[in-house]
């Protein structure tokens, strides 16, 4: 499992890639490994407001349905429409083609509350105990 160094991470296993005042959000390879084959991703419409740590969508796999939590507060500016037809991209390329949404941040300082790759790897180590 890989956790790219340039990303920030949440305890709920989302990643955030910062680009100016926008972040691209997806789920980590650990999340994908736990979920198994993803069958459906339910995402909000462009323009929806989201809050840090609050639910913004759902991801469904053959095993379970899980909620998606936003790493930051802001507004959805783009949604990965391709996932509707090909949800397997989340499994195949969680950090690239399997991205979920772009969020325009209302408070970029919230990024400081997220984990970096090393902290996230530590966190996973503890979870796996």
């Amino acid at each position: 499992m890989t956790y790219p160094a340039e990303l920030r991470y949440t305890k709920e296993h989302e990643w955030a890639r910062v680009d100016g005042d926008t972040v691209r959000v997806g789920v980590t390879s650990y999340a994908v490994d736990q979920l198994g084959d993803v069958t459906l991703v339910d995402l909000p419409a462009v323009g929806t407001s989201v809050s840090a740590h609050a639910r913004f969508g759902e991801i469904e796999s053959v095993k379970t349905v899980s909620e998606l939590f936003s790493p930051v507060s802001g507004e959805i500016t783009a949604v990965n429409e391709d996932l509707e037809g090909t949800p397997e991209q989340v499994n195949e390329a969680p950090y690239e083609g399997g991205w979920l949404v772009d969020i325009k941040m209302s408070d970029p300082s919230q990024l400081d509350g997220l984990m970096d790759a090393a902290q996230y790897a530590d966190y996973i180590g503890k979870l796996e105990g």
Partner: protein, 496 residues
């Protein structure tokens, strides 16, 4: 190999639409005594243009089709069915005798009360019995299943608050709850607020305290909870919520662990549902619908669904519609899934108080026997005395890459229905195993042997497990493709 599974004579059964021949029929209808009408002239565009592709088969073809399908099925009458949380206990055949008595089986639901006295008395007596078992004041038999029972219970809670001019919005639910709990809240316009359980799997008052305020309509608790543990702080939790004006909903899904030993009404529950198809031996699906009566304390009586079977002073019975003007109303057509009421009543009377208590004791004993025996090989999630079910995980198989799903599939080769997998969500790779009181020690030992054998296989020859099932009619299905590209409707091939 433990168990007694062998490849047998199983049939490949075509769809019933692919059997038969054009014009073939299994019934002979009498000549119509009314004149033909022309529906096309009457209904215009609404008249369907194509004939529906109905099956055209003889009676033996239809019977063989369904019997062959039933032979591909697995049931509690076939073997052990340790599907945790579902309480797949044996359904005694005496229940079926009772439900088939012509006076019950052929009774029309619109029969006047005076001509349905036996059925009304049975409903009344079942209600009284359920209330007694759970320490409730009354029980509504209407809800058609457990989830509808939850919905009705919460609706009564909403009506209770509303009658006092309040409209609290939150329903507190521990993170171990059944998935139906948040759904029942949402349907009632409440917000489900999850709160954490401790590392031993139960709710601690300190962890609940920050969530309890004036906006709490109710707390929804399953006791024992979904990881099979008794909520030891239940009475304190109930007091905390009552102190703020909230009510306590008890999910009766796990009643099989306390029936006859502890009464929810005594530990602070105000309203709860019974799952007759779990605890009271009525069939799960296939053999009949569910039934989810709701028991409640006096304070909720004004809001209970109507009608209610009541006993008159002269010893006769009636369906009462008018005594509860604040009732939430009717929640289903007619009165209850009556055949299930008959079966549950037969079970209750067949067992008696001692018998119900012994069923509970054996259900708990069986689960603890499995906990200890399986614990020699498998990782038990919460290693303390459990109630009627036990959670184990695939943790010790981590290096083999064999997962809970593979173990579940392999168990079929040993002749067992798999346990509930990946639930409760708080345990990674969970297998929730509920043997119920039905199984004997010999059967439990065979199951333990099967699980030990699978654990060995996982370490010696993992591909045997990851490639399972091997003995079933169909091997591992492509669940991913089925979920991603579901085919939801049969399309008949165009006939020439």
């Amino acid at each position: 190999m433990p168990g007694s599974v062998a490849a047998g004579l199983t049939f490949t059964t075509p769809l019933i639409f692919e059997r038969g021949a054009k014009g073939r029929t299994g019934v002979s209808l009498a000549k119509s005594e009314v004149p033909d009408v022309d529906p096309a002239a009457l209904y215009g565009d609404l008249f369907r243009k194509e004939q529906p592709a109905l099956a055209e088969v003889s009676e033996p073809e239809a019977v063989r089709h369904y019997v062959q399908l039933s032979q591909q099925n697995f049931a509690i009458d076939t073997g052990m069915y340790p599907l945790g949380s579902c309480t797949m206990k044996y359904n005694p055949k005496v229940n079926e005798w009772a439900a088939r008595l012509p006076g019950f089986a052929t009774l029309h639901p619109l029969t006047p009360d005076s001509m349905a006295q036996g059925a009304l008395e049975l409903m009344y007596r079942l209600e009284q019995g359920l209330a007694q078992v759970c320490g409730m004041d009354r029980v509504s038999l209407q809800p058609a299943a457990g989830a509808q029972g939850e919905y009705v219970g919460l609706q009564m809670i909403r009506a209770y608050h509303s009658a006092q001019g309040r409209s609290p919005k939150k329903v507190l639910i521990p993170e171990t709850a059944h998935g139906t709990n948040p759904a029942s809240c949402a349907l009632n316009g409440f917000t489900a607020v999850p709160f954490p359980v401790d590392e031993h799997g139960i709710v601690l008052p300190d962890q609940l305290a920050p969530f309890v305020d004036d906006d709490v309509a109710a707390i929804m608790v399953t006791n024992p909870n979904t990881v099979g543990l008794f909520e030891t702080h239940m009475a304190t939790m109930a007091e905390m919520v009552h102190a703020k004006g909230g009510l306590v909903y008890g999910d009766g899904a796990n009643l099989n662990a306390i029936m006859g030993r502890g009464r929810p009404g005594d530990f602070g529950i105000d309203v709860m549902q019974f799952n007759l198809h779990k605890t009271f031996t009525t069939p799960h699906g296939g053999g009949g619908p569910g039934c989810g009566p709701v028991g409640y304390k006096k304070i909720l009586d004004p809001y209970a669904p109507v009608p209610v079977a009541e006993r008159n002073d002269d010893g006769t019975y009636r369906l009462d519609y008018g005594s509860r003007p604040q009732s939430i109303g009717r929640v289903r057509s007619f009165h209850t899934n009556f055949g299930m009421a008959v079966r549950a009543y037969a079970y209750m009377r067949e067992m008696g108080p001692e018998g119900l208590r012994m069923a509970t004791d054996l259900a708990v004993l069986n689960a603890n026997y499995l906990r200890v025996c399986l614990g020699e090989t498998w990782k038990v999630a919460f290693d303390r005395t459990c109630m009627h079910e036990v959670v184990i995980s695939d943790k010790h198989l981590k290096d083999t890459h064999v997962t809970t799903m593979d173990v579940a599939k392999r168990l079929m080769d040993y002749g067992y229905h798999p346990p509930t997998v990946y639930f409760p969500l708080v345990v990674k790779g969970a297998m929730l195993i509920e043997p119920t009181e039905t199984e004997t020690k010999q059967e439990l030992d065979r199951f333990v042997d099967a699980m030990k054998s699978i654990s060995d296989e996982a370490q010696r020859e993992p591909e045997t497990v990851t490639g399972a099932p091997h003995l079933t009619r169909l091997r591992r299905l492509d669940e991913t493709r089925a979920a991603r590209n579901p085919v939801l409707r049969y399309v008949a091939p165009k006939s020439a």
